[in-house]
Amino acid sequence: MKIIFNGKSVNTSVKYAHELGEGNIIVNGYEIHTPYILKEGDNVVIFKKGQVPKREQFTSMISARNNMDTKKLLNASVVICGLGGLGSNIAVMLGRAGVGHLCLIDYDIVDITNLNRQYYFTKHIGMLKTDAICEIISEINPYIETEKINIKIDEDNIKDLFEGISNHKSQIDGPPTGASHLVAPLKPNPKKSYDFLGALGQGVHCPPSVQWTDTPQAYGLGGQDGKPNGVQVICEAFDNPYAKALLVNYVLENHPHKKLVCGSGMAGLYSSNLIQTKRVMKNLYICGDETNEAKIGEGLTAPRVSICAGHEANMILRLINDMEEV
């Protein structure tokens, strides 16, 4: 009988899951506590509590409770624009889910007023948000490939930025879905990164940088057709409504095959249930209540911002899994 055991396809003749090894047992995304008779195609993860697994098993184990196609997740590439209350939470959620490649864009540093809702700690105050969130993600899953771009997106640089990303690993205009185009993780090309970011130097608050975490050889997904993986989803997570509209118009006009997930309306202490995910255009999803704006007398708090971030992250995971409806 063929099953997937700790991320690897194996043939086994054992009857029960617990005969595969000692430890806690997850079968098809659910932890079992009674004897389980194995079936063809089962996905079984056995882990020991309190131990950090070796690299080869890390990915399968961290995704054991997802019950999602791990290859789709590993090959998925998401650009997150803005790392504030929405983006920092979304980045961490997608990192936890095991999305293989995250391109993280923000210009700002962490400050004290961020800590009421954003996924940062006091030790991050003064750090670039891109650096801080990469540190956090790497502490959750060191094998997520992250790309950091420190820039404030505006009308003058948005074209160069997205062309730069499309010339780089993330490949904005790669195949519409990366799932069928498994590709070996590319080595960073610092020169190219600095070329496209160098052009954006003026007006950038912090020195631009593109840095890569460890090349995730553990993914074991070798290049099959030599084509680069495509960015599957672009996530809008800005605070400023003009920046939101700028990004949405730019992406929908220039990358008409890309899906865009946005946040709009999550301020105040209104009902959680006002926040929804809507597919408002063919390639545009909006999460939020679309009404309650951050303004004088109307603040932003962790619960509502996180609920909205959760909507965005869930829609992104659905899109990665070819589910286009909300």
């Binding site: 605070d239 409504p241 939101k244 709009s264 999550m266």
Partner: protein, 60 residues
């Protein structure tokens, strides 16, 4: 149809102004295609067009 409601033929820019939309905070899709901002002024919405106007609010 504009945002799901029937509407008579109207110039898009005039409609947006009349309804108080801030052009720098919106995106407009006509019959499934995004409409560049540069074309708002010259675009007339016909009764059989399907128009979606999305307006963003701040916060994040």
């Amino acid at each position: 149809m504009i945002n799901g409601k029937e509407h008579k033929d109207v110039n898009l820019k005039e409609y947006l102004d009349e309804k108080g939309y801030d052009i720098n905070r919106i995106a407009v899709e006509i019959n499934g295609e995004i409409l560049p901002k540069s074309k708002y002024r010259e675009t007339t919405i016909k009764s059989n067009d399907n128009v979606e106007i999305v307006s963003f609010v701040g916060g994040g």
